[in-house]
């Protein structure tokens, strides 16, 4: 009987995983509220409850949790990091933000030959990049990565001040460059020749 319940649970969670995460969460919502808020590591407890007789509720909750995680993972992989800053690790953009300018997003996506700016920056990861700030400062380095705000992690960095003439500091290791003041990014750029 126990084995049957477990097998049924895995079948149902597989079925649930085919639904979209949001639909499933709507379904599981009311069920979830009737349960007591579970401890984070109470997977075993939930399994016991499923065996004893809250079998349906236990199954739905486990499936919802698995589906939500899978949904989140899918969103990460596809790059649709919905609430951008709230999901660290979804920093690579494949498509424009769905929440900002749906019309423009539609026109941008429907034109496949168009190059998305953050895609171009993403392709530049691992190679040299030349960053022009709003002020008269430029940074040349190897791009290790960037995030939703285009804060950048760079390596082997040279900093240039344009007006006073001359190279400034050559920094090694890694720097985190705040994206607030970045104006332009030149992939493969070597910086001002002084």
């Amino acid at each position: 009987m126990v084995r049957f319940v477990h097998r049924l649970a895995s079948v149902i969670s597989e079925v649930f995983s085919n639904l979209t995460a949001s639909v499933m969460l709507e379904m599981a919502g009311p069920l979830q509220r009737t349960l007591h808020s579970p401890q984070p590591g109470a997977g075993a407890l939930r399994a016991e409850r499923a065996e004893k007789g809250g079998a349906e509720r236990g199954r739905a909750e486990r499936a919802e949790r698995g589906g939500a995680e899978r949904g989140r993972a899918e969103r990460c992989r596809k790059g649709r990091g919905g609430p951008g800053p709230a999901l660290p690790g979804c920093g690579r953009w494949r498509q424009p933000l769905a929440r900002a300018g749906s019309d423009m997003a539609a026109s941008a996506v429907s034109n496949p030959s168009q190059l998305l700016p953050l895609e171009l920056v993403d392709k530049c990861i691992g190679s040299r990049i030349h960053i022009v700030m709003k002020s008269d400062k430029e940074i040349v380095g190897t791009l290790l990565g960037f995030d939703d705000f285009v804060n950048m992690v760079l390596e082997d960095v040279t900093e240039f001040e344009i007006t006073p003439e001359g190279r400034r500091i050559t920094k090694l290791d890694q720097i985190l460059l705040n994206g607030n003041n970045i104006t332009m990014l030149v992939p493969g750029g070597e910086g001002p020749e002084v």
């Binding site: 919905g82 990014l185 493969g188």
Partner: protein, 117 residues
């Protein structure tokens, strides 16, 4: 942990529905694709190049970019202090103006008062 994930996922789902009705870009850049545009930035920089791509946040991809820099003694003569940058990404957060390259021309200063007497 399950309730946190459920709350976050449900909230985000409802938000995108509402946002789709509200948000709409007022500028359609697709008509400028493959055309030369002039872009002005916060901080006084200017650049022009062929628009190759954009996103709703107004990040741009420009090809064959020429940057015009302002000098203290600059009355903004276009040929002075330019440099070729090639393929660049312009950050939308610092873009203040976009116009077609042939949509601008230099005119004599209309604000100079002619002193009589």
């Amino acid at each position: 942990m399950a309730s946190g994930g459920g709350g976050g996922g449900g909230g985000a789902g409802k938000m995108t529905d509402k946002e789709k009705k509200k948000k709409e870009s007022i500028l359609d850049l697709s008509k400028y694709i493959d055309k030369t545009i002039r872009v002005k930035f916060q901080g006084g920089r200017e650049a022009s190049g062929v628009l190759k791509g954009f996103d709703p946040l107004l990040n741009l991809v420009l090809d064959g970019t020429i940057e015009y820099m302002r000098d203290p003694d600059d009355q903004f003569k276009l040929t002075e202090d330019t440099r070729q940058l090639g393929l660049v990404v312009c950050r939308g957060t610092s873009v203040v103006l976009i116009c077609p390259q042939d949509g601008m021309e230099a005119i004599p200063n209309p604000f100079i008062q002619q002193q009589d007497g």
